[in-house]
Subunit: 96 residues, 2 copies
């Protein structure tokens, strides 16, 4: 979920399904679809279907989604900045 929102958030512009998928290595088609659907249902993501052949589907954050993305990005950055501290705490805890 966070990864999906971060992917759409960083990119900014609408992204096709395959494009989102490529940017989240290891995600299964089922999970990505499921996540995008629930984000769409919650009003975080807008899904646009263009009925050409083959069909084209674009995803992008809504305003609501962008406001949440701003917070998620902060948490993501916190995680990067404090990864070492957490690793150290774990190593210390596990040694006991």
């Amino acid at each position: 979920m966070s990864l999906t929102m971060c992917t759409l958030g960083i990119h900014g512009a609408p992204m096709r399904y395959s494009e989102v998928s490529r940017n989240i290595p290891g995600v299964s088609q089922k999970m990505l679809t499921q996540t995008l659907r629930s984000l769409e249902r919650d009003g975080m993501v807008r899904r646009t279907v263009t009925p050409v052949s083959p069909v084209r589907v674009d995803y992008e954050l809504t305003d609501l989604g962008r406001s949440l993305y701003a917070l998620i990005a902060q948490v993501r950055d916190w995680a990067h900045e404090n990864a070492d501290a957490v690793d150290h705490a774990r190593a210390t805890y596990d040694k006991l």
Copy 2:
């Protein structure tokens, strides 16, 4: 997890196990213990055992935990502020 950190964060001072438990209605004893243990392992929570009888155990956020709590509190506030928007989006989506 978030609820546990919020409970400890809002309170500020050390809290006893039973006190934390009372502030998170519906949490099972197993889940609370499990959550507190993993938070302790990650360096977010400090656990202090006072060997009186009956034993006294206090939990409180570490500095690292407090820095994460600040972000979690923002997300919690965002959720409160945007609950209506999300509810509306869901109602609209589900009507289709």
